[in-house]
């Protein structure tokens, strides 16, 4: 079996007395997209900085293509970073930006132009190469942001919230680019808060909470383990439902979601709760129900569950 593109072994990082990452291990294989998920403060940024050699861990080892990451080490060049913001010079064209970044990553002379052209082609923006970045749409800027990260042919691509703030067509286009890059052999670490995106794109998902690895597996295996075949039920109330509705739903083991009118519960496979009956009882009490949904849990459900659980740590 090939050595992994990225191997993180028992890494711990502290900021003073606070442990940002605690004994973390995971790996990314060639052509694999691994999602790094976790609420704010989970340690995602610390992991990125550690992989990029901007932070040296207190303990543990990070290897990229088998070589340990060290401060100032040359294998930092094996990483391409797509930052959360548009990390481009707005007063320059897409081509000028990419040429500049290519040179800063060590490309010289005749090698620059074809590399830039290939990167533009990879992200589908050859036709807009000479437009100023400031004049491109948000989605196009994001694609140039991708292109700038692959110019030097890194083995590992880190995508930090790559689709933040873009519309659905642009997001889909970026997903296509990500899949294409993975198929071309890049290992991809995708940091995102968009759980549907992670579920669609990622081969495996690393779930972090409070600096600790909570789980690391394929989305399907992870969800199966978390929910053990249970489904989730959602009741959507009409806007303006009052405190009585909340009280009744709480008593029926429903929990509020991020959306104020949507309530959530888990439904065991062999003892499904009579959601329709619950809906009817709410209607009888004068509470308007808009929708009742039963569905298989997704990563959103997992996050919802994590938010509710106490601060316990699961062994890696």
């Amino acid at each position: 079996m090939d050595s992994p593109v990225l191997s993180v072994e028992n890494v711990s990082v502290s900021y003073g007395a606070r442990k940002a990452v605690d004994n973390l291990s995971f790996d990314i294989r060639t052509g694999e997209i691994v999602g790094l998920l976790g609420p704010n403060g989970a340690g995602k940024t610390t992991i990125i900085k550690s992989v990029c050699a901007q932070i040296i861990p207190d303990s543990g080892v990070i290897k990229i293509t088998g070589r340990a990451v060290k401060r100032g080490a040359e294998n930092r060049n094996a990483v391409g970073l797509v930052p959360q913001d548009i990390g481009l010079y707005m007063h320059m064209s897409a081509r000028e930006n990419l040429s500049a970044f290519a040179r800063m990553f060590g490309l010289r002379g005749a090698a620059v132009a074809p590399t830039v052209d290939r990167a533009l082609s990879d992200v589908g923006l050859s036709a807009r190469a000479d437009d100023l970045v400031s004049g491109l749409s948000g989605g196009m800027k994001r694609r140039i942001n991708y292109a700038a990260a692959i110019l030097h042919g890194p083995a590992l691509l880190i995508l930090d919230e790559p689709t933040a703030g873009v519309d659905i067509p642009a997001r889909d286009a970026l997903h296509d680019v990500t899949r294409k890059l993975a198929a071309a052999g890049y290992g991809v670490l995708l940091v995102t808060h968009e759980l549907e995106q992670a579920e669609q794109l990622c081969d495996r998902v690393l779930v972090m909470k409070n600096g600790v690895r909570r789980d690391f597996d394929t989305p399907a295996a992870l969800l199966h383990r978390e929910f053990e075949g249970r489904s989730e039920g959602l009741i959507t109330l009409e806007a303006g439902a009052g405190a009585e509705a909340a009280s009744r739903l709480h008593s029926l083991n429903f929990t509020p979601t991020d959306h104020p009118n949507i309530w959530h519960t888990e439904i065991s496979k062999d003892s499904a709760q009579p959601l329709a009956a619950i809906g009817q009882s709410l209607e009888n009490a004068g509470i308007d129900v808009r929708e009742i949904t039963v569905r298989k849990p997704g990563l959103t459900s997992l996050f919802h569950k994590m938010a509710l659980e106490p601060q316990t740590e699961r062994a890696s």
Partner: protein
């Protein structure tokens, strides 16, 4: 709406503690600096440095020498070995602001016994010293003044008969008496190169303006670092093979080149419109322009590394450029400042850049005389760059 915008701006300032401190500490500080400089300059209380030579041994001359050395209005450097040539050299090189030579018996009528030597860029110092010397003589040597007047009267009229009184009155109205009683002669320091006095004054402002402009310009350019940090470009580029050092080197190179061109433009304007002679020392001028641009670039990069926000960068850069320019002599020549400020000015690049340009264009300084300011500027540049690199290395990693 108005309140909301007001609150946004207030919170922006309040939550950027560095900018907040700069915003409210700087005005008082800048005022204090400028008030000290300009009140000294316009109030006539200069911390002048005077080089004194005494080449006459008459009792009255010795008494004046003693009086000059014991007064406290200006500082006097006296050496019995000083002669006219030594005084010219010291004034020309700026060792002292102005020179004073007691060359003849001041009690002797008709003699121009006091010679004041000045550098054209500091002519006001000569005028002020002239007044100070007259005051000292009137206060500390009144008998000499009286004897000199009687001698003068005797010489002119031979006694105080009515006819003689008439003759004195006639003499009082004549140019000859004015010349005879004006025992102080004010002369420019002799120099090896032939530079008209007007040129020397404008030559001073070549360096004074250039360094102030270069600092402003470099600060503006270096602010790009803040944008790069905010947009993630820095994080991306730190993954490159040379990391932070390459970024620093690239910016330093550009800002130095830009500054060199800007300084050369100022020199060209001085040559074309103010007739300052530059053709004889173009290589040295180019070297000085490169040095001035480099030191400005290095300081700007250091500030950009330390600043945590664009507000801090803007405020700090304005403050630093104004402070350096005020203390370093870009606004007012340093000899017009209080003594402690003149000393503080030595720690600014402005003082040394002005020294280099003025030395080359007006004093006719040779390479050995320019070596010290050039070396100091090179050291400031290297120090700022090293510190910026070190801080940048740390800040970008944690």
């Amino acid at each position: 709406m108005i309140w909301a915008i007001f609150k946004i701006m207030a919170l922006r300032l309040w939550r950027d503690k560095g900018a907040l401190a700069l915003a409210f500490i700087l005005p008082g500080f800048i005022y204090a600096v400028f008030a000290a400089i300009f009140s000294t300059a316009s109030g006539g209380k200069l911390d002048m440095r005077v080089a004194l030579a005494v080449t006459d041994a008459a009792p009255a001359t010795v008494r004046l020498s003693d009086a000059l050395q014991s007064q406290t209005d200006f500082s006097v450097t006296f050496d019995s070995a000083f002669d006219r040539e030594a005084i010219d050299e010291r004034v020309r090189l700026g060792t002292e602001d102005v020179g004073l030579i007691l060359s003849d018996d001041i009690a002797k009528p008709g003699a121009q016994s006091v010679i004041i030597i000045y550098e054209p860029s500091r002519k006001i110092a000569a005028d002020m010293l002239s007044g100070q010397v007259r005051q000292i003589i009137g206060r500390d040597l009144p008998d000499v003044v009286l004897a000199k007047q009687i001698n003068l009267v005797t010489t002119l009229a031979g006694g105080l008969t009515p006819a003689q009184s008439g003759a004195i009155n006639a003499a009082l109205e004549s140019e000859a008496l004015t010349d005879a009683t004006d025992f102080i002669s004010v002369q420019p320091a002799r120099r090896d190169v032939d530079v008209p006095e007007g040129d020397a004054t404008t030559a001073y402002y070549v360096g004074a303006t250039a360094i102030m402009f270069l600092l402003f310009s470099a600060m503006q350019g270096a602010a790009l670092s803040l944008e790069e940090r905010g947009s993630g470009i820095t994080d991306r580029l730190l993954l490159g093979p040379r990391g932070a050092m390459a970024m620093m080197a690239g910016k330093f190179s550009f800002l130095s080149l830009q500054g060199t061109v800007q300084a050369l433009i100022i020199v060209a304007v001085a040559a074309i419109f103010f007739k300052i002679s530059v053709t004889g020392h173009l290589p040295a001028l180019l070297f000085i322009c490169v040095l001035a641009a480099s030191v400005a670039a290095a300081i700007a990069l250091l500030v950009s590394v330390i600043a945590k926000s664009s507000v801090q960068m803007n405020t700090a850069s304005t403050f630093i450029v104004l402070l350096f320019s005020a203390l370093g002599g870009s606004m007012v020549p340093r000899f017009m400042m209080p003594g402690w400020m003149q000393s503080a000015g030595s720690f600014t690049p402005n003082a040394w850049v002005i020294d280099l340009f003025y030395g080359l264009l007006a004093r006719g300084s040779d390479a050995s005389q320019l070596a010290l300011p050039a070396l100091i500027l090179a050291l400031i540049t290297a120090g700022c760059l090293a510190l910026a690199a070190l801080l940048s290395h740390r800040l970008m990693r944690f």
